[in-house]
C-alpha cells in the first residue's frame, strides 16, 4: 500500500525506506530520519532530523487532524487508487455551497427558469442567501423543501438545460 495524503487539494506521498530504532521516510521527495513517541493517546513528539516537535493527532475514518506549532492541518488519506473527485455542476444541478436550511422554494417542478433566476432562499447560520439557476431550462426536481436541512454539496434543484435551436 502506498498512502497518499491530501492537504488543501495538493497530494503528497510518504514512503517508508527502512526502519531501525528510527524510521527513514521519503517525505514528498525528502529523505528524513524520523522518530515518533506517544505521550498519550492523542499527544506525542515527532523528531525529524534531530529536531523535536510536539503534536496532537486524531483520526476520523480517512481524515487526520494534526496540530503542530499552534496550527491544525486537515489531512485526507487517499489510497493508491486515489479518491474519485466529483466535479459536479456540469449539468444544471444547483448544489448547496454550505450546509443549511431551506427557507423558501421559489419554483415548482416543471417550471421554466432563466439563468440567474432565484430558485430558492436558503439560510446557513445567520445568513440568508438566494440560490440562482445556473442554466436556462426546466426544473426537473427539487431536492429539499422549505424547512428541510441539507449538507454542503447536496443537490438543491435540478434543471434540464434548454435545447439551443
Amino acid at each position: 500500500m502506498q498512502p497518499k495524503y491530501i492537504i488543501d487539494d495538493t497530494e503528497y506521498l510518504v514512503t517508508p525506506i527502512r526502519r531501525t530504532d528510527s524510521i527513514v521516510l521519503d517525505i514528498n521527495g525528502h529523505t528524513q530520519d524520523v522518530r515518533l513517541k506517544w505521550h498519550d493517546e492523542h499527544y506525542g513528539e515527532i523528531t525529524i532530523a534531530g529536531k523535536p516537535s510536539q503534536f496532537y493527532a486524531a483520526q476520523d475514518e480517512d481524515r487526520l487532524y494534526i496540530h503542530i506549532d499552534g496550527k491544525v492541518w486537515e489531512v485526507n488519506i487517499a489510497d493508491e487508487f486515489g479518491a474519485t473527485q466529483d466535479d459536479g455542476n456540469s449539468s444544471g444541478n444547483v448544489t448547496a455551497p454550505m450546509p443549511g436550511v431551506v427557507i423558501e422554494v421559489a419554483v415548482n417542478q416543471g417550471d421554466s427558469v432563466n439563468q440567474g433566476d432565484t430558485v430558492m432562499l436558503i439560510e446557513s447560520m445567520k445568513l440568508q442567501t438566494e440560490i440562482k439557476a445556473s442554466v436556462t431550462g426546466t426544473v426537473t426536481s427539487i431536492g429539499s423543501e422549505a424547512g428541510a436541512s441539507f449538507n454542503k454539496g447536496a443537490v438543491l434543484v435540478s434543471i434540464t438545460a434548454e435545447e439551443q435551436s
Binding site: P3, N28, H30, L36, Y65, I68, I77, P99
Partner: protein
C-alpha cells in the same frame, strides 16, 4: 454566603458556553440550578453539572429553546422561581418576561416594559432622541409607505438595512444604490420575520470607517452605573469576533463623555439589570446611539476582567430585588482584556460554517487566561445552533501584553475534528494595524488579503506528513505486522 439563597431554584434557558457560565455563578451563590437541553446536547457539560436537567423538544433544536409554554411548565413542575435567559433565544423577548412575571417567576433581566422600549431598535432610537442623546440619520418608514423613496433619496449612500427587532447581526445588510435596496429590503424583512416574528425594518446611514463602541451598564432602576466601554470593531458579517476593554481610541475625557451618555440613557429608562448601550464612534470623535442590548452579552467577560466585577452575579442579585450595592466611585478599571470568539467556520473561505465532531480538545490555560466554553470531546457540531463554540479571554497589564498572551493561548488551544477560526484570529491579532489600535468596523474587509495568509513552511509540511503517516491507523497496522529486519539482523550477529 448568607444562609438563605436569593432564589429557591433558577432555570438556565440556554445552552453552550453561556449556560455553563450562568451555572458557575449560581453555584458560587449556592443557588440550585436546572438546565434545559435539546437531545442533541444531552452530553454537554451544563447538563451534567446542573443540579437538575430536563429535556425539551421541538421541531428543531432552536425551536425547543424558543418554546415559552414548555419552559414555563417545566418551571412549575420543578418549582423554579427564576429564569436566566442568557443571550439569544428568549433573552430579549418581552412576551417571555411578561409570561414569567404572570406566573410569579422572576426573569433575570430588565422588566418586560423596558425590553419593549429598549430592545426594539425603532422605539429605542425615538426614546433616546427624545431625551436629547445623539442618534445617526435614519428612515424608519415601511418600504410600502408613501414618502419612503423621497426619504431615501435625501440620505447619502451607503445605507444599512436593519431589522427593528434584530440583534447580533441578523437581518442586516449594506446597500450601495437605490437599485439594490428593493431586494435587500425583501430579504431583510423575511429574515426579520423568521427570527424575530416582526418584519419591520429600517434604513440608516452607514459609516464605513466608524468604530463600534459599547458601554456596560449595571442598574437597579435607581442606582445606575457604567463599567466602561468595550471596543467591538473587529467584525465579520456584522458579528463581532474580537472585543477588548478598554478601547484604544479614547482619551479619559472622551471615555467619560460616552460612558456618561450611556448611563444617562439607562437612567432615563430606569434600567434594572445588566445591559449594554451600543454606539458608533466616527473618526471625527462624534458618537451616535445605535441600540441597547437588554441582556448579558457574549463579550461581557472583558469587562469583568478589567473591572473585577461578576456581572452575572450582580444580575441575579438585582433580579432578586436587592439594590445594586456598587457605586460609580467604587469601580475602576485595571489593565487590558481581549476576547476572541472561536467559531466553527472556514475563515479563509468566506467564513462559511463548518460542521464535524470534536475528536480531541485541550483548552488553553494560564494566569489571567479565561476559556468560556461548552465544548466537550465527542460533541457533534452542526448548523442547528450558532457557530460560536467558545471564547478565549486574556487579561494583562497592557494592550500589547494582552495581544501577545492571546496569540500564545490561541496556539495552545487544540481542537481536532472541526475547523475553527483560530489561525484567522491569530492573523488579526498579529496585524500591524491591529497592534496600533487604529481599527474600525471595516478592518476585516480593508485587510482581507493580509488576513488570508495561512502559509505552511516546508519544515512544517514535513512534520505534518511524517506525523500523518506514522499516526495513520493503516500505517500502524502495517508497522505492527511487519517484522523489523534490522533488529533481526542484529540478533543474528550477536
Amino acid at each position: 454566603m448568607t444562609a438563605e439563597p436569593l432564589f429557591k431554584k433558577v432555570l438556565i434557558a440556554n445552552r453552550g458556553e453561556i449556560a455553563l457560565r450562568i451555572l458557575r455563578a449560581l453555584q458560587a451563590m449556592e443557588i440550585p440550578s436546572v438546565a434545559i437541553y435539546h437531545s442533541s446536547d444531552r452530553h454537554s457539560p451544563v447538563v451534567r453539572l446542573a443540579d437538575e436537567a430536563v429535556e425539551i423538544t421541538g421541531d428543531s433544536p432552536s425551536s425547543a429553546h424558543l418554546d415559552v409554554e414548555q419552559i414555563i411548565s417545566i418551571c412549575h413542575e420543578l418549582e423554579v422561581d427564576a429564569v436566566h435567559p442568557c443571550y439569544g433565544f428568549l433573552s430579549e423577548n418581552a412576551k417571555f418576561a411578561r409570561a414569567l412575571n404572570d406566573a410569579s417567576i422572576a426573569f433575570i433581566g430588565p422588566s418586560a416594559e423596558v425590553i419593549e422600549l429598549m430592545g426594539d431598535k425603532i422605539t429605542s432610537r425615538e426614546f433616546v432622541e427624545q431625551h436629547g442623546f445623539p442618534v445617526p440619520p435614519s428612515v424608519s418608514l415601511d418600504a410600502d409607505d408613501a414618502g419612503f423613496d423621497d426619504a431615501i433619496a435625501a440620505m447619502q449612500f451607503p445605507l444599512v438595512v436593519k431589522a427593528s427587532a434584530g440583534g447580533g447581526g441578523k437581518g442586516m445588510s449594506i446597500v450601495h444604490s437605490v437599485e439594490e435596496l428593493q431586494s435587500t429590503l425583501r430579504i431583510a424583512a423575511s429574515e426579520a420575520e423568521k427570527y424575530f416574528g416582526d418584519k419591520r425594518v429600517y434604513v440608516e446611514r452607514y459609516f464605513s470607517s466608524a468604530r463600534h463602541i459599547e458601554v456596560q451598564i449595571l442598574g437597579d432602576g435607581e442606582n445606575i452605573i457604567h463599567l466602561g466601554e468595550r471596543e467591538c470593531s473587529i467584525q465579520r458579517r456584522f458579528q463581532k469576533i474580537i472585543e477588548e476593554a478598554p478601547s484604544p481610541a479614547f482619551t479619559q475625557e472622551k471615555r467619560d463623555q460616552i460612558c456618561e451618555t450611556a448611563a444617562g440613557i439607562a437612567r432615563a429608562a430606569h434600567y434594572s439589570s445588566a445591559g449594554t448601550v451600543e454606539f458608533l464612534y466616527t473618526p471625527e470623535g462624534e458618537f451616535f446611539f445605535l441600540e441597547m442590548n437588554t441582556r448579558i452579552q457574549v463579550e461581557h467577560p472583558v469587562t469583568e476582567m478589567v473591572y473585577n466585577v461578576d456581572l452575572v452575579q450582580e444580575q441575579i442579585k438585582i433580579a432578586a430585588g436587592k439594590s445594586l450595592d456598587i457605586k460609580q466611585a467604587d469601580v475602576s478599571m485595571s489593565g487590558h482584556a481581549i476576547e476572541c470568539r472561536l467559531c466553527a467556520e472556514d475563515a479563509f473561505n468566506g467564513f462559511l460554517p463548518e460542521t464535524g465532531k470534536v475528536l480531541y480538545l485541550k483548552e488553553p490555560t494560564g494566569e489571567r487566561v479565561r476559556f468560556d466554553s461548552g465544548l466537550y470531546q465527542g460533541q457533534d457540531v452542526t448548523t442547528a445552533f450558532d457557530p460560536m463554540l467558545a471564547k478565549l479571554i486574556v487579561h494583562a497589564d497592557t494592550r500589547d501584553q494582552a495581544i501577545h498572551g492571546s496569540i500564545k493561548a490561541l496556539k495552545q488551544l487544540v481542537l481536532l475534528g472541526v475547523k475553527i477560526n483560530t489561525q484567522y484570529l491569530i492573523n488579526v491579532l498579529s496585524h500591524p494595524a491591529f497592534k496600533t489600535g487604529n481599527i474600525d468596523t471595516g478592518f476585516v474587509s480593508t485587510f482581507i488579503d493580509d488576513l488570508k495568509v495561512d502559509s505552511t513552511s516546508q519544515e512544517q509540511l514535513q512534520s505534518v506528513l511524517a506525523t500523518a503517516y506514522l499516526t495513520d491507523r493503516n500505517t500502524k497496522l502495517l508497522l505492527d505486522a511487519t517484522p523489523e529486519p534490522y533488529a533481526a539482523i542484529g540478533n543474528w550477529r550477536n
